[in-house]
């Protein structure tokens, strides 16, 4: 499986670390809404198909990435910086060609 890092370009999955489900919304740390915390910690969509995920390019540029991966085919349809745009200087040249 290859993930095309927006900075580094296509890299083997061995360079990446899975950081979990990208659909979770973390409650305010001060929140005492137990249902919201329960949902954050335990509830997962577990779809058979496209899934929003967070990955870190831990063996590369170390950026955190928002990835859409198909859980049936491993096809990756989208990769973006989790933090948003890092500015034009940061974008990989492969992306310009695509």
């Amino acid at each position: 499986m290859l993930i095309t890092c927006p900075y580094c370009g296509p890299r083997d999955v061995i360079e990446f670390t899975y950081q979990g489900d990208g659909n979770r919304e973390r409650p305010d740390p001060a929140s005492q809404n137990f249902e919201a915390w329960n949902a954050y910690v335990y509830d997962r969509l577990n779809p058979a198909g496209d899934h929003n995920e967070i990955w870190q390019h831990s063996g590369g540029c170390r950026a955190h990435l928002k990835v859409v991966r198909n859980t049936l085919t491993h096809e990756i349809s989208s990769v973006a910086f989790a933090r948003g745009d890092h500015g034009s200087a940061a974008r990989h040249k492969a992306e310009d060609k695509a």
Binding site: G60, G87, S88, A90, R91
Partner: protein, 195 residues
């Protein structure tokens, strides 16, 4: 003046090794920069950091991710969004950057004693490195001066191409001897010379 010691020393054997009867196709050496510095820009401050790099080193970074340049004495390349590695044969780079990279622009980290720089050159350099790293080392995909962040067996490595068949690899100093030994073993079958 403090004398520099190399972590490679016990395994650094100058001369030709391996299958060199048909010629040496790999040259391995340690470049021993006096300074290795990592710079990071706060979001939106990348252009000011790139300007600071030009002020201190005289090197103009090309556009694009992983872009870099080397003049043979000083080298710079991008290794992550808004982050750059700079090396210089001379000492004192961190102090020079600390004056220019203000806390509003970003951070300066002195890694002069934290990284070891290993140079691999020769017609089989791409071929040997392809055994280690799952990235494209061909010249069109990895142009001269450019940098790449990758890993070998979980040992993080930053690689800059400093010639058509020459690469400088920055590894953690504590892993450098082990990495060096692996590089020597991988070069045996084509014949290598340590300089």
């Amino acid at each position: 003046m403090v004398e520099h010691q190399s972590p490679l020393e016990p395994e650094f054997h100058v001369g030709s090794h391996g299958n060199f009867e048909h010629g040496v196709e790999i040259i391995l050496t340690e470049t021993r920069p006096g300074s290795i510095v990592q710079l990071a820009a706060w979001p939106g401050e990348e252009k000011r950091l790139i300007a600071a790099i030009r002020t201190v080193t005289g090197l103009a970074l090309p556009d694009g991710a992983g872009g870099g340049v080397s003049d043979g004495v000083k080298s710079v390349f991008g290794f992550a969004p808004g982050k750059f590695t700079v090396a210089d044969e001379a000492e004192g780079l961190a102090a020079a950057f600390a004056k220019v990279v203000t806390s509003a622009i970003g951070t300066v980290t002195d890694l002069s004693h934290g990284r070891t720089a290993i140079r691999i050159a020769g017609p089989k350099a791409e071929w040997v490195l392809a055994k280690f790293f799952a990235i494209d080392f061909s010249l069109p995909a990895f142009p001269n001066g450019a940098g790449r962040s990758t890993a070998h067996h979980d040992v993080f490595a930053q690689i800059q191409r400093t010639g058509a068949d020459q690469f400088d690899i920055y590894v953690f100093r504590s892993f450098a001897r082990s990495f060096w030994k692996a590089l020597c073993h991988a070069s045996e079958e084509v014949g290598y010379e340590v300089q």
